[in-house]
Amino acid sequence: MDDRTIGRAGFLGVLGLGAAGLFLAKDATGLLDRAVPQSVANIVPSAGWRIYTIGSSMPTFDPATYRLEVTGLVGSPASYTLADLKAMPRADQVSDFHCVTGWSVSDVRWAGVRLADVLERAGAKSNVAALNFVSAETPYEDSLTLEQALLPDVMLAYEMDGGPISRPHGAPVRLVMPQMYGYKSVKWVNRIELGTVAQPGYWEQNGYDADAWLGKSNGLSS
């Protein structure tokens, strides 16, 4: 190897490693997930959760004043405290969370209520075909069709990984829609509007797909 190729080889080696990393770093990410303590990962994300907010500030949850409102096509508008929600039939599930930006978290443990129970309790009218979830983080909102909302792994969660949902993850209540990219799983939900047509959500208004099925949506061709 002559003098000139040493530098070039090193340069190309770094380039090759980095490019290979695009495809091979999955194992490294998993390793980081286990090796980096959660306290560090909360400050400097290595693998796992990232916290994305779009409003001017992150919502604060006050247990004394929090209400989940259900409005629109209901007999009369309903309002629930966190205790009211917890008194409804409890559902537990383990599901993966996938962000449209490329990161994923496996085996998240959620607990909460199924939307069927909420709709029944609120007295939803028979012509309800879409649910619009409004976040305390204005102007974030997103919608599901009734059919999507009633899928067996969709829930309104108040617990994550064995504890109450923390503020960055959407305290006190967030939507969990594991079959779609994470932007559909609205955090800090404080109102559900029942209607006949799904409204375009915050990211849909910025060009993302409304039906954000994992691996089937956000295609350039659509």
């Binding site: 003098d3 000139r4 040493i6 530098g7 070039r8 090193g10 340069f11 770094v14 380039l15 980095g18 490019a19 990393g21 695009l22 495809f23 091979l24 770093a25 999955k26 490294a28 990410t29 980081l32 909360n42 400050i43 400097v44 994300p45 290595s46 693998a47 990232r50 916290i51 994305y52 907010t53 779009i54 409003g55 001017s56 500030s57 992150m58 449209v100 930006t101 490329g102 990161w103 960055p168 910025n206 060009g207 993302y208 994992l214 691996g215 089937k216 949506s217 956000n218 295609g219 350039l220």
Partner: protein, 226 residues
Amino acid sequence: MASLLEPALPDTPLTSPARIERFTLTERALHWMHASAFFALLATGMILYLPALSTIVSRRHLVKNVHLWVAVAWAIALVVILIVGNRKRLAEDWREIETIDRDDRRWLRGRKAPQGRFNAGQKINALLTIAFAMLFALSGFFLWLGERDHRFIFAGTGTVHDALTFASIGLLVGHLYLALIHPSTRHALRGMTAGDVDEAWARKHHAKWVEAERDRLASRHEHTSH
């Protein structure tokens, strides 16, 4: 530090007595364009990446757009400099940077060895900076594309982009220390602002370069006088 106060070595003086040109306008434009883009990308990237910052600043959509457009501006500025700039000089730079000779290898092992216009550390810094910039652009492009077409979501794109950030911050801290604080190297800063450096300093730290420059000037002088 002391070296600067020493009188110039009793040697044949160069044609230009006190200062010697190290970086042309093209090289300086490239350096400062890259530096400004890097700082803007680092600032917006940190807001997007660190939860503590992102929850303070929020407005993710806006910050993300600024980050993207700065990256596009960086790429355009790079192409413009490559088109209108002194390409011959940039090719020379590249040839010097990728050549790690015997003296460089001795220098890297901590021994004394005469250095060219770039010392071995500067060569490695430059090689890594160029490689990182290309990988930032590649992984950044796929981060952008993956959000628009799920077929381009790769497992390691984000990890590579993050790892590059950490590595680049490491390089940057070292670079800033050597350029602004370290007594024996900070004199080089003028080379990147005005373009020239103190000749006595250069002779001590970049002996092979000063020698080659002297030969070049001498031969040019010979040619013109005949």
